[in-house]
């Protein structure tokens, strides 16, 4: 079933958490809300579930209006038939795994024999076929997460809401469960809304990503589309463009443009839109920053988009090396190099080179990158 949100607003006291939000989630798709903590993504989800009451707007699930501020419609949470996985899992410690998963069916007065069959089926689906009788407080984090998922799916909810379900797990388990989660969602063709602040999770899970900040949608689109063409510097920063530098447009030629960094160094890049903005950010992915030896070249005889500098951090991370390079003009570049064999040492002089087509000159929307990465 699709979810429709129009003009959603939510304020706590004087602070506005959600600001005139419009969102359409098509039936059977997984939409990921991506944004930093406090951007309103969890509150949006809680409003859909009915756990928070919006200050204004309208929410529909399928054909059914579950909330409408104008005529006072507010279907209580227990009548909305949604499934939800909480960040804390919210597994009831005084019940067994079976009892936890059976609870929604019990409330719906499903026959006892049918409950047993459906719980067994859904536990199989999440790969927990054999732990039903166990006390829920004895489970590991990954198991709790699966029980929570099973519980949210067991009564065939109209939509599935997932609130950072993987954030409390260790990295390897997270990767595995992420794949499983996507498999189950596509298999059941269930409409799902997923909230996270992790860009990798968002990119790999979503049919559509919605980037949020300060209660508003910055951009939404398919992962590949949004990753390749972020509309503003803030979206770029969320999606792993770790070099976001203030710059001013000097001249343009179609989509090609030349800008000046705040250090006065010229940089050639690509404009994303035909908007006549001059205050932009030069956004570059760390994998697009090439690091080469200076080899005695004079720093003033370097080609375009090449800067002389020094290695101030070199950290070997297995498949690649993570560098931080300080240009002679003081700009610090973040680079990921797959050339593990030809590693540059700390303190060595290097040339930092970036193709002009990999430098996105995007409208500046004022988010310092450090804020985003936190």
């Amino acid at each position: 079933m699709n979810i429709g949100i129009t003009g959603l607003e939510k304020s706590f006291g004087a602070t506005r958490i959600i600001d005139a939000l419009d969102l359409e989630i098509e039936s059977g798709t997984m939409v990921v809300l991506l944004g930093p903590s406090g951007c309103g993504k969890t509150t949006t989800m809680r409003c859909i579930a009915g756990l928070d009451v919006p200050s204004a707007g309208r929410i529909t699930i399928g054909e059914r209006v579950v909330f409408d501020a104008r005529n006072g419609t507010n279907v209580p949470v227990d009548r909305r038939r949604v499934g939800m996985v909480f960040q804390s899992y919210a597994i009831w410690p005084h019940m067994t795994v079976f009892e936890n998963v059976a609870f929604p069916l019990e409330i719906a007065r499903v026959a006892r024999t049918e409950i047993a069959a459906r719980v067994a089926h859904v536990l199989d689906l999440v790969g927990l076929g054999d732990v039903g009788a166990r006390g829920a407080s004895l489970l590991s984090g990954g198991q709790m997460q699966r029980v929570a998922l099973a519980r949210s799916l067991v009564n065939e909810p109209s939509v599935l809401l997932l609130d950072e379900p993987l954030s409390n797990l260790d990295a390897r388990l997270r990767d595995r469960l992420r794949v499983q989660l996507r498999e189950i969602q596509t298999q059941l063709k269930i409409t799902a809304l997923y909230v996270t602040h992790d860009q990798n999770e968002a990119l790999s899970l979503a049919d559509r990503i919605v980037v949020m900040r300060a209660g508003r949608v910055l951009q939404s689109g398919a992962p590949i589309e949004i990753y390749g063409a972020p509309r503003t510097s803030a979206v770029a920063a969320f999606l792993g463009y770790s070099n976001v530098l203030d710059a001013t447009i000097e001249s343009t030629d179609g989509t090609a443009a030349t800008a000046r960094l705040s250090t006065d160094a010229p940089i050639h890049g690509t404009l994303s839109s035909s908007d006549a903005v001059t205050d932009v950010c030069a956004c570059v992915r760390p994998t697009d920053v090439r690091v080469a030896s200076l080899d005695g070249r004079e720093s003033d005889s370097l080609p375009d988009n090449t800067f002389a500098g020094e290695v101030i951090l070199a950290s070997f991370e297995g498949t690649h090396i993570h560098y931080q390079l300080r240009g002679d003009d003081g700009v610090v570049w973040d680079a990921l190099s797959a050339d593990v064999a030809g590693a540059h040492r700390l303190g060595s002089r290097v040339a930092v080179a970036i193709d002009a087509r990999n430098v996105l000159l995007l409208p500046r929307d004022g988010v310092p990158p450090a804020d985003v990465l936190a």
Binding site: L51, R81, V82, G83, M84, A90, W92, F103, I107, S152
Partner: protein
């Protein structure tokens, strides 16, 4: 979200109940302090007056205030010294037999101050006090006399020390040992760590405990009444009691003095809240912290001897006095050795005392009134705690405030207020056990509320939200999720309320009638009429029953929860 009519119905109902339990009694006292006749006395010439307050400026009341200050300050100092040392020894030192030390520190709570005062008056008053007999036997020419200001302060100190212990020990347990270890690694000595790290971290708790026990001692009635009255030492609470009960009774003057006492205790309780609430130093709470143990070295056994001495004075000696009193047939005790002579002992007085009708009906009354208070109070505390912590109903902050208010009201004042509230009420509860139960609920609501509220607050919201999302309406969420998760603390609160209610004397003094004497009242009356063997025998039974109840409660909890 709760539907609209219920949104107001529930808070209004709760305010009505709390109003009858807490607010109206206070209003009654305040009213009585400003008029010329007692409420519902049928006096037609009731007029507004400030005369009751003017009456307080008398030498008697001045002396009473001074006495109160003396015994409360002295008692607080002793309780602090005892409680803090015990707490530190248990939490941070390598003292031997730590389980025993811990037990010794909380055991005095089992002895009600009424029983303890009675026991101490036989241990250390006059030449025939057991301790004085022992001193004489050893040729030491000293007389210990607890029927004095010093004695009252000493008994206060001994029996309020466990409150300090519990608060400070709790705070020490919450201080992450890493913080002390960090100081040790930085090169600080034990004393320096104590002064610069440990003490500052538990300072709010120590300050809070100080203010709390001070307020408790200021309002305490049994200790100064039993130990002070025989020698004419009157504290403010005893003065109120005397104004109410001596002929001619002066209920309006008593009310004015009550208002004064409420202001004193309330301001200390307010300061205590501020001390505990202003700074939250808790860094990590709960599980599995291995506290750093300070090696006491040669002081280890000295510290242990200190604990043994405390246990002897606070528990062993009074228990001995009770046993001695309960089984003594020959009242003439010429020397310390005579205490142990079998010829002077017999089981007869014990049996006589316990088979009297007073005791049987007293025990039954205590149990019934206590059960009523425990179950009613537990249920009320749960509903209030749930509304405050788990709903957005209007007025819930005020609800919590009123539920905690009785902490600041002296039991004596509460007793008088409840008497006046119900004596003329259209429902005939006066003269029945119900009014005693009402009094107990009112007096001990804060204890029940706090325990249940904190355990509700510890349950993650998501656990209840998950049940709502799963389709359960609120009533079902409460029954299936909330209640099972807080069952342990609800049951233990009910037990605590039961024990506290059965021990209660002060408020009961104004609420009982001839047919509804509780065991505590029976003990008090026997003491006032000088039947020491009855006092001792009933006290023994009383203490044993309360200890049994507490142990049974704990066992039950451990088995079930």
């Amino acid at each position: 979200m709760t539907r609209t009519p219920l949104r107001f119905a529930l808070p209004i109902a709760l305010f009505a109940v709390l109003g009858a339990l807490v607010i109206v009694p206070l209003v009654m006292i305040a009213y009585a302090s400003l008029v010329s006749a007692a409420p519902f006395s049928g006096d037609a010439h009731t007029a507004w007056t400030f005369g009751n307050y003017a009456q307080l400026f008398s030498p008697e009341i001045g002396f009473a205030a001074l006495n109160t200050l003396c015994v409360a300050v002295g008692g607080t100092c002793i309780a602090l010294a005892l409680g803090c040392s015990l707490a530190w020894l248990v939490a941070r030192s390598d003292i031997p037999a730590k389980a025993f030390v811990h037990l010794a520190a909380i055991m005095p709570l089992f002895l009600s101050v009424l029983v303890a005062s009675a026991a101490w008056s036989t241990l250390a008053s006059g030449r025939t006090g057991y301790i004085n007999l022992a001193l004489a036997g050893l040729g030491i020419p000293w007389l210990v006399n607890v029927e004095s200001r010093t004695g009252i302060a000493l008994v206060f100190g001994l029996y309020y020390a466990p409150y300090v212990f519990l608060l400070v020990n709790g705070a020490l347990a919450l201080v992450h040992p890493d913080m002390e270890e960090a100081a040790a690694v930085s090169g600080a000595s034990i004393w320096r760590i104590l002064r610069r790290v440990t003490f500052p971290l538990v300072k709010p708790a120590v300050l809070g405990a100080t203010l709390l026990v001070f307020a408790l001692m200021v309002e305490d009635f049994p200790v100064p009444q039993l130990l002070g009255a025989p020698v004419g030492i009157e504290t403010l609470s005893v003065a109120i009691y005397n104004l109410m009960t001596h002929v001619p009774a002066q209920p309006n003057a008593a009310s004015a003095l009550s208002v004064l006492l409420v202001i004193i205790t309330a301001s200390f309780v307010f300061l205590q809240r501020r001390a505990l609430g202003s700074t939250d130093y808790r860094t990590v709470t709960g599980k599995g912290m291995q506290a750093r143990v300070v090696r006491l070295g040669s002081f280890r056994w000295l510290a242990f001897a200190f604990v043994v001495a405390y246990a002897l004075l606070a528990i062993a000696a009074p228990t001995f006095a009770l046993i001695e009193g309960a089984f003594r047939s020959d009242m003439y005790i010429p020397s310390f050795g005579a205490l142990f002579a079998p010829s002077g002992l017999s089981i007869a007085p014990f049996v006589d005392a316990l088979t009297s009708v007073d005791v049987a009906s007293g025990a039954l009354n205590s149990l019934l009134a206590g059960l009523g208070a425990a179950i009613g109070g537990g249920a009320l505390a749960f509903v209030i705690a749930y509304v405050v912590n788990r709903t957005r109903l209007p007025g819930r902050a005020a609800l919590e405030y009123v539920a905690m208010l009785p902490v600041a009201i002296p039991a004596l004042v509460l007793g008088i207020g409840i008497l006046w509230t119900w004596v003329a009420a259209p429902v005939p509860v006066y003269g029945t056990l119900v009014i005693l139960s009402i009094g107990y609920v009112s007096r001990f609501l804060p204890q029940g509320y706090r325990a249940i509220a904190s355990s509700i607050a510890q349950i993650h919201d998501d656990l209840e939200s998950a049940a709502k999302v799963a389709g359960a309406p609120r009533s079902l969420v409460i029954r299936r999720i909330t209640l099972p998760l807080v069952r342990g603390s609800v049951v233990s609160s009910v037990f605590v309320l039961l024990v506290l209610s059965i021990r209660e004397l002060t408020a009961s003094l104004f609420l009982y009638t001839t047919g509804t004497r509780t065991l505590a009242i029976v003990i008090y009356e026997k003491y006032e009429t000088g039947s020491w063997s009855a006092v001792a025998a009933i006290s023994l039974l009383f203490t044993a029953a309360l200890a049994l109840l507490t142990v049974a409660g704990r066992r039950w909890l451990q088995a079930r929860v």
